[in-house]
């Protein structure tokens, strides 16, 4: 998740911190700087791919460093920041919303770390006014953490706490978020106003919210350790009261053509980054020779032997299943379906970034929990292998029964033009008798069915009359059958016994028509 560091640069941040140590003088600002550096250090080790932006605020806000993975630019920028005037949290959050929406749109979850001086800068009334004015929840999924650089016993903190709590709570309260809910942010108060105290607090934050996510990718007996980035979040869903947390094993259950898979609704997507196998060489081969304790590699050890020494120190030269899988998925144009948990699935695809470096990588799409996450694949729990030797009856896509042509049987006549079109169609057929006799009656029955379900007997009478008039207006040269069929249809439509009976079907007169039978 991209992170916005919101750093308070108001005047009050420059207050010196009283300390017994005379060799070093600290202000709240320098302590905040230390916290940010600690944060960046942690990311360097655990989340190198994270994007971080630095926004400073006082009564104004400024994007000091836009989103970057080059954390050093943030470090050097910290040394050149200008002092501002007064803390003004609502304006700053407004600015952050804009930056995030411009850069990430409204679907990417974002973490915001607000580093401030522990005073809201206003009295109780002003504080309440700020709470009212907070631009929260944002239209993107977000969690906000607050790190007040303040002594825990400071009275101003007691005063500002409700505001912070409100910010943390509101950030999570997204209404229009279809992608499930994220866990909440927190307030990280240092237990003392010193550099180590604040570093402890930010380290706690890092450990709770920036943990890298490791798991095992398993495909039958083949297995490798992978990192997922961004780290998956626990999700909960409307209509599903359980929360879903990714297990630390992803089990491939099979494969599917990319065009059959399409693009199911993913609640999040993650890079799957292969990791060196713990324990080096032995574990790397675990797949195929240490399962059975047979010396199967005795022959190949001689071939490997020549190059083994330097290979062992370089994980990139040890075969990794993840790389193989990526290559094969790409070549075959397929995707792997993985089980993520109970009633929860995901897909693995070889994804090639279109815009930038054109690098290809393995991407895990986490689907919405439940068996219906991709309706065109059918129920996901019923995806299975074809029986050997038999051909399966069903294939993708599994069609839903829905049809968009007004439900198949009904006629959507709420708008007059639809009714008009249907009536004209009947009259068109009526003029082309006897060629269109079958069509005319088929169309009349369709119309009847719709009219009966809507209780629209007026329509049937009107059409009956129209057909009768067509009958009288027939040119003398017309075959006699035309007049007979039209009169027959007109009568049937106006006969109260047959017209409104759904079980009755209008049929054209047979060739050996006998006038006496019609009544």
């Amino acid at each position: 998740m991209p992170t916005v560091l919101m750093l308070d640069v108001s005047l009050s941040m420059s207050r010196p911190v009283p300390t017994s140590d005379t060799t070093e003088t600290h202000t709240r600002f320098t302590i905040a700087t230390a916290a940010i550096n600690t944060f960046l250090d942690y990311l360097c080790v655990h989340a190198k791919l994270e994007y971080v932006a630095l926004v400073t605020f006082s009564s104004m806000y400024e994007v000091a460093v836009p989103f970057t993975r080059e954390f050093d630019t943030i470090r050097s920028k910290l040394l050149q920041l200008d002092e501002g005037d007064k803390t003004c949290i609502d304006t700053a959050l407004l600015g952050v919303n804009q930056i995030v929406l411009n850069e990430w749109g409204c679907q990417t979850p974002v973490q915001i770390i607000m580093i401030t001086d522990g005073s809201s800068g206003v009295g109780t009334i002003g504080r309440n006014r700020i709470v009212q004015a907070l631009p929260l929840p944002p239209s993107y999924p977000a969690k906000i953490h607050v790190l007040p650089i303040v002594s825990p016993h400071d009275t101003s903190l007691q005063h500002a706490m409700p505001l912070y709590q409100k910010i943390v709570d509101l950030a999570n309260n997204t209404t229009s978020n279809s992608n499930g809910n994220m866990s909440r942010g927190s307030i990280y108060c240092p237990d003392q106003l010193t550099v180590p105290g604040v570093i402890t607090a930010i380290t706690r934050l890092c450990e709770q919210h920036y943990q890298e996510f490791w798991c095992a990718l398993k495909c039958g007996q083949l297995e490798t350790r992978v990192q997922l980035f961004p780290a998956p979040q626990t999700v909960s869903h409307e209509g599903v009261d359980a929360t879903y947390t990714l297990a630390n094993q992803l089990h491939v259950i099979g494969f599917i053509q990319q065009q059959d898979l399409g693009t199911p609704m993913a609640i999040s997507k993650h890079l799957v980054i292969p990791q060196a196998q713990p324990g080096g060489n032995a574990a790397a081969r675990e797949n195929y020779d240490s399962k059975t304790d047979r010396p199967t590699k005795e022959g190949s050890s001689s071939t490997d032997g020549s190059t083994t020494e330097e290979d062992l120190s370089d994980p990139s030269k040890i075969p990794n299943f993840c790389v193989l899988l990526h290559g094969a998925l790409k070549v075959e144009g397929m995707a792997a379906v993985v089980v993520l948990g109970a009633e929860w699935w995901g897909t693995l695809t070889a994804w090639c970034e279109a815009s930038r470096s054109r690098r290809s990588c393995l991407l895990l799409s986490v689907l919405r929990p439940g068996t219906a996450a991709a309706p065109w694949l059918g129920a996901l729990d019923q995806l299975g292998p074809a029986e050997e030797g038999t051909t399966t009856a069903e294939s993708f896509p599994v069609r839903s029964w829905r049809s968009y042509s007004s439900g198949g049987s009904a006629c959507a006549w709420a708008r007059p033009h639809a009714l008009l079109a249907d009536v004209q169609k009947v009259l068109r057929h009526a003029r082309k008798l006897p060629d269109k006799t079958q069509h005319l009656f088929k169309e009349l029955n369709r119309l009847r069915r719709a009219a009966i379900s809507l209780g629209f007997s007026e329509l049937l009478t009107a059409i009956g009359n129209a057909l009768e008039r067509e009958c009288t207006a027939l040119p003398p040269s017309a075959p006699s059958e035309c007049a007979l069929q039209l009169a027959h249809a007109a009568n049937a439509l106006r006969d109260p016994r047959t017209a409104l009976d759904i079980k009755h079907t209008l049929t054209p007169l047979g060739p050996n028509y006998n006038p006496s039978m019609s009544h």
Binding site: F255, A266, K317, R356
Partner: protein, 628 residues
């Protein structure tokens, strides 16, 4: 939070004689381009027709966008309440409703009222939906819903009367439900659908009148009564405007929004050379618009968002470019020709990008429309993704290995393709199969010989991964092994079969190569040695292998060949048990004991003893016994 208000909606349609009167809104059939047809005089729908078609259209939008989880029921109210459907999924579709409506027919003379239907609707709300039934009983949830009552009242007092009846019904039902619950929770959970307490009910009364009739009913905004338990809203509408009203109301009820796709080029006739541009309005979740209008007013939110058709060129675009969620789409006016054209275009597998119209040039694609599995979807084209600019695979673990068996893994993927199946356990079967197929699966070309031998070994490597083998298949495998043995005896290199570039990599001595081949084969077959046929194959292999490790003098080979040409499946005197290569041992023993050497048959005493402790020198004991 589990069940939102729109989980259950109930329409009450007034079917009293009053609804048989005309809406007094004539529909003209006279069109300017009337090519010689006799004009059809205008006709008016009845109030009943207007209310049915409006309600059905509301249902269509809901069910098109939410195939499950959003339930609607229709109740026709005259002398009694006619339930057209229940909460069961099989009855939640238009076909079922329309069939029911056919039987209801037009209004008939006779007394009756809307009250019957309203009471029945509230009782229906107290019935649990299938999703609510399947909830574990210890989990509490809110049972909420909406009743839309289309009626025609004389004045506000009659409306007030309706409200009171609804209120009383809810109070009584809740009293009954809360009394029944404590008694019923412990033992009688299996009783037929218990009634649920209604926690909230939104009652929307739509008062319908013909075009020119006066009405003394006035609009009343949503007001909460009964301590927030009931929300009542009254809307007055002309019958002719009813369909539009419900089409508008469905949006906030289900958090939907509309998009107008503008500038869709369509040909007037099949082979016309020119095309005109049309607009089509579509309905979908309002989430699809998030971010498009970051700062919109309430009035703006109700308007349709206009997005321009971006004529697709070649293979560009498509839903795959969209990295976020997809939402179902349905046309707002399903019967119009432009809607039908757009739907068919998409259902034929093509997708289209939509852009935000900009005055000052510059294009920005914002959404994608596409069909998947016979349904229409809209997806928002996202901005950046947090996983862009990924680290190069070639620099990560395993990235510099160049001889992965990609083609073979591709074949494995094809063999493990998923299909839509019926019945439970499909996932598990598929995993078990993958497990079998990967039991012995070297990742790289240089780490294996047997999989590089191509056609020589192919029948064996293909067959051995099956769950069971037939006798013929075992025979085929044995043929493969014997062919190998023959090759070895001719002092051929196993790699002689390989193309020269691959041969270079495994440039060991001939004997070493053959040892590797047999070693790998054993690992492969042994990994599958679960079924009796597989074990038979393993015995054949071990015989061959045993030979491989001996000095290759002609006589021993002959015996091996003789031994292996006897079918291993032919009953061998004492039976299969004695012919086992290894005595069975349990898992603990297997873990504790030393690994079994591969090339030596097990100690005969242990074979005989089976799982029991083997006795040493049993003859000695016998000798002692006989001597006594």
């Amino acid at each position: 939070m589990m069940f939102p208000i729109n989980h259950k909606t109930i329409f009450v349609l007034d079917h009293t004689p009053y609804f048989g009167i005309s809406s007094e809104f004539p529909i003209e059939f006279d069109v300017p381009k009337n090519r010689g047809y006799l004009p059809v005089p205008p006709i008016c729908k009845s109030l009943w027709t207007c209310s049915v078609e409006a309600a059905v259209e509301y249902c269509r939008v809901v069910w098109d966008l939410f195939p499950e989880g959003k339930l609607v029921r229709l109740i026709v109210s005259d002398t009694t309440a006619h339930m057209l459907n229940t909460w069961v999924a099989a009855q939640q579709n238009l076909t079922h409703l329309l069939n029911g409506l056919c039987l209801v027919g037009p209004v008939r003379r006779g007394a009756g009222g809307d009250v019957e239907g309203l009471v029945a609707a509230i009782e229906a709300l107290a019935e649990p939906s299938p999703a609510q039934v399947s909830r574990p009983p210890d989990r509490l949830f809110q049972n909420r819903g909406r009743v839309i009552c289309i009626t025609s009242a004389r004045d506000n007092d009659s409306i007030k009367n309706l409200k009171d009846i609804a209120h009383n019904t809810i109070v009584q039902l809740n009293k009954k439900a809360s009394l029944a619950q404590p008694a019923g929770t412990s033992e009688s959970t299996s009783t037929t659908p218990q009634t649920l307490v209604i926690h909230y009910c939104h009652i929307l009364i739509i008062n319908v009148t013909p075009e020119n009739a006066e009405t003394r009913v006035t609009n009343q905004p949503l007001t909460e009564i009964a301590g927030g338990q009931i929300g009542v809203e009254v809307i007055v509408s002309r019958a002719s405007a009813l369909a539009n009203l419900l089409a508008r109301l469905v949006l906030p009820h289900y958090k939907l929004a509309t998009t107008t796709v503008t500038g869709i080029p369509m040909k007037e006739e099949q082979n016309a050379s020119s095309s005109a541009n049309y607009d089509v309005e579509i309905v979908h979740s309002e989430d699809a618009h998030t971010g498009l209008r970051a700062s919109q007013t309430a009035a703006e939110a109700a308007e349709s968002v206009v997005l321009r058709w971006w004529t697709p060129r070649g293979a560009e675009g498509g839903a795959s470019g969209c990295c976020g969620a997809l939402w179902r789409v349905t046309p707002a006016d399903v019967a119009s020709r432009p809607s039908a054209c757009l739907v068919n275009f998409l259902l034929n597998g093509r997708s289209v990008t939509l852009e935000v119209p900009r005055k000052g040039g510059g294009r920005s694609a914002s959404h994608v429309l596409a069909a998947q599995g016979g349904e229409l979807w809209i997806g928002a084209l996202g901005a950046r993704t947090p996983y862009d600019d990924p680290p190069a695979l070639s620099e990560g673990a395993g990235g510099r290995v160049t001889d992965y068996r990609i083609k073979e893994f591709g074949a494995l993927m094809q063999q493990n393709r998923l299909h839509p199946m019926r019945g439970a356990g499909a996932n598990a079967r598929s995993r078990a199969r993958l497990q079998r197929h990967t039991t012995y699966w070297p990742l790289t070309i240089s780490s294996t010989l047997i999989f590089n031998l191509g056609s020589v070994l192919e029948p064996l490597t293909r067959l051995v991964v099956q769950e069971t083998l037939t006798d013929e298949e075992v025979e085929t495998c044995r043929g493969v092994l014997l062919a190998l043995l023959a090759m070895e005896s001719r002092h051929e290199f196993p790699t002689a079969q390989l193309p020269s570039n691959m041969r270079g990599k495994s440039s060991g001595r001939r004997e070493e190569q053959w040892r590797q081949v047999w070693g790998e084969l054993e690992a492969l077959v042994r990994a599958h040695a679960a079924a009796p046929q597989h074990r038979a194959l393993l015995r054949v292999l071990l015989d061959c292998r045993a030979h491989n490790n001996h000095s290759s003098d002609g006589e021993s080979r002959a015996t091996v060949i003789r031994a292996t040409t006897d079918s291993p499946l032919s009953p061998v005197g004492a039976g299969n048990g004695a012919a086992e290569v290894w005595a069975p041992r349990n898992v603990l023993d297997a873990l504790l004991a030393a690994p079994r050497p591969p090339r030596r048959p097990d100690f005969a005493g242990r074979m005989a003893a089976g799982t029991r402790v083997a006795t040493l020198y049993p003859q000695l004991q016998q000798d002692v016994e006989t001597s006594h």
